[in-house]
């Protein structure tokens, strides 16, 4: 009997075209899901790379270079309370000499490097009233005399006093010049010292904290955002509708603008809040299988008569049934309150970066455009139009923000910044009675300005 049915093996049966349409709908949704996953993964990877490389370069890298030295064990960028500069822009070199405390070099000006005999150093310093030197190294001179090498901010008075004491002295404007004063320092500790001295030389474009523990600033930015809607059916019977909505709607590059106030603390933590206007755009396109288009035919006849010419115009309208692609650009306009917490670290005199997290609370949402209903018919979602489909909540769900920020210090008071972020809506933006859940994952990039008050 098996032989009788062998002819079925290669027999091809017919089926309706809807089968492929339905399968393709699922495949398209899968492709969009993959695309979204790639965007999120890429953004996360970029954020991870920026934060990891920044941390390693400015912390781990420095520590490694100094560990090899016996008399300067460690150099690190630490916040300080006894300087007029931003905590992240103050550099402290820890001195291993028991007689000296850790010293802080306020910078933003050329540096003096001088050498003083170890035997007379203390009295020299009392005479010069030098309080902000930093010990770099001890060198052995001819005749086994020990000479300490110090750096201080350049000052004409001090430099002449140092010279009067017959000490070696040099004003340095670049790191490389240190080599002529203390070559072995740059050779043996070149990596660490260059880093520190580069910062000391160039540093200065930061807002002063003074005696205050925090500074207030105003901020404003514009953003490019890609709203990526994600649909999920509340029960399995709506899966086809879910894939239909996923297939017919696609997020477009959209814009946002925000303004607000922030507060940065000496320790580097900051908090920001403000008001944001968002205008998300989506493209809705679908094939209307029962579309009717109209063709208008205008017939113009010219009739010549003895005395005159008469022109007759005849208009006829023909109904043409068939399918047609309908494209509509939807918009979701919303007002929101963003609240962000972050931690900021300085890279050098002109750059700093921060990692941040927070939430965006929606206070008003207005949607316009069209979407498919569960019968696969395009329906209006604009609330002010008759017969609209009431799908969206009057307020969007709270969005969670994760992101980073790179600040460029234009002046001590004005910083420009760029901030890549990923945002997630916490719960569905649609009504409870709606058949699908709709959430968003939005990658975005903001550019803006901070002004320290």
């Amino acid at each position: 009997m098996r032989k009788a049915f062998d002819k079925l093996d290669n027999y091809e049966s017919r089926f309706s075209g809807d089968v492929w349409n339905n399968i393709n709908g699922v495949l398209v949704a899968e492709r969009q899901k993959k695309k979204r996953r790639n965007i999120i993964a890429f953004t996360s990877l970029v954020l991870l790379l920026i934060s990891t490389s920044s941390y390693l370069y400015f912390n781990g890298y420095e520590d490694l270079s100094f560990d090899r030295e016996s008399n300067i064990q460690q150099a690190s960028i630490l916040p300080s309370s006894n300087t007029m500069l931003d905590n992240d822009h103050t550099y402290k070199l820890e001195d291993t000499k028991p007689s000296k405390d850790s010293r802080v070099v306020p910078s933003g000006q050329p540096l003096s490097v001088y050498q003083v005999s170890s035997n007379i150093k203390n009295s020299d310093h009392e005479q010069l009233s030098i309080t902000s030197e930093v010990y770099l190294d001890t060198q052995s001179q001819e005749g086994s005399e020990q000479v300490d090498v110090y750096a201080i901010p350049f000052d004409e008075t001090h430099s002449s006093q140092v010279l009067a004491l017959n000490s070696s002295f040099a004003k340095l404007n670049t790191v490389n010049e240190l080599e002529s004063i203390a070559p072995h320092i740059t050779e043996s500790k070149s990596v660490g010292l260059k880093f520190n001295l580069t910062n000391i030389f160039n540093h200065g474009d930061c807002p002063a904290f003074g005696n205050a523990n925090y500074r207030l600033y105003a901020w404003s930015h514009i953003s490019g955002v890609l709203p990526l809607a994600q649909f999920s059916a509340k029960n399995t019977s709506n899966q086809q509708y879910e894939s239909a909505r996923q297939t017919t709607e696609a997020g477009l590059i959209s814009s946002e603008a925000a303004i607000g106030l922030g507060m940065v603390f000496k320790k580097g933590y900051y908090v920001e809040a403000g008001l944001q206007y968002a205008h998300w755009r989506e493209k809705f396109s679908y094939i209307d299988p029962e579309s009717i288009s109209y063709q208008t035919i205008i017939t113009i006849d010219t009739v010549f008569q003895a005395m005159d010419t008469i022109i007759t115009i005849d208009t006829s309208r023909t109904e043409i049934p068939g399918s047609r692609e309908i494209v509509n650009y939807n918009a979701h306009k919303s007002y929101n309150i963003p609240v962000v917490f972050g931690y900021q670290k300085t890279i050098n005199n002109i750059l700093s970066y921060s990692l941040k997290a927070g939430a965006i609370f929606n206070i008003q949402l207005e949607s316009k455009g069209r979407i498919l209903d569960h019968n696969m018919i395009a329906k209006n979602i604009s609330a002010n139009e008759a017969g609209f489909m009431d799908v969206y909540k009057p307020k969007l769900s709270t969005q969670i923000i994760l992101g980073g920020q790179l600040n460029y210090h234009l002046t001590p008071e004005v910083h420009a910044y760029v901030s890549p972020q990923v945002r997630f809506t916490q719960s569905s933006v649609t009504n409870d009675s709606y058949l699908l859940k709709q959430t968003y994952v939005n990658p975005s990039v903001s550019i803006g300005l901070k002004y320290f008050l």
Partner: protein, 186 residues
């Protein structure tokens, strides 16, 4: 020869393209197997609509599991297995039990295989579809797909002996039906 060979793409390349979610490759893959897989679905489904639902479900499973396909085996064999399993799952999901309760009243006479061999493919599908669900599944799995009674028992959650019994009855019922039709034709 398969259609994609005409377009100078190998089976392996087609699978690779589908794994990259290339729309054209997915359509080509569908065109390549859909007709034959629909025949399978028609053998299991009780209506054209149910068969199309099975085909749709089968292709979604095929595409989402394509990464599990090992290229050393037959691609067609693999997609056929998925389609058969999907068809059975669809029937089970709809609450159809593969029992023999509904066929005990049938009178069964013996017939000959040669009577079946003269039938066309469409007639054979129609013939299979007259069988009650329990018979049909066992008959399809054993006679056409080539599964053993032990395997069928596991797939349909029935005993091996029930599978044997249902197959015997299905065969006899088919022969009787063919014989009746032929007598009427004469």
């Amino acid at each position: 020869m398969s259609p994609f060979y005409k377009n100078s793409i190998t089976e392996k390349e087609l699978v690779e393209q589908c794994l990259k979610l290339e729309p054209k490759a997915q359509r080509m893959f569908f065109d390549l197997f859909s007709g034959r897989l629909m025949t399978i679905c028609r053998r299991y489904g009780r209506s054209q609509q149910e068969a199309e639902d099975m085909l749709q479900e089968a292709f979604i499973r095929i595409f989402s599991n394509l990464s599990k396909y090992k290229s050393d085996g037959s691609l067609e064999g693999w997609v056929r297995r998925i389609t058969v399993n999907t068809s059975i799952k669809v029937l089970q999901k709809k609450g159809n039990r593969h029992s023999s309760d509904d066929i005990d009243d049938y009178a069964i006479d013996a017939g000959t295989p040669s009577e079946l061999e003269v039938l066309e493919a469409e007639d054979l599908i129609a013939l299979i579809n007259i069988l009650p669900l329990g018979y049909k599944s066992v008959f399809n799995l054993y006679e056409i797909e080539g599964y053993s009674h032990k395997e069928i028992g596991v797939m349909l959650a029935i005993s091996e002996s029930t599978s044997r019994s249902q197959l015997t009855k299905a065969k006899k019922m088919l022969r009787q039906y063919v014989s009746t039709i032929q007598k009427r034709a004469i």
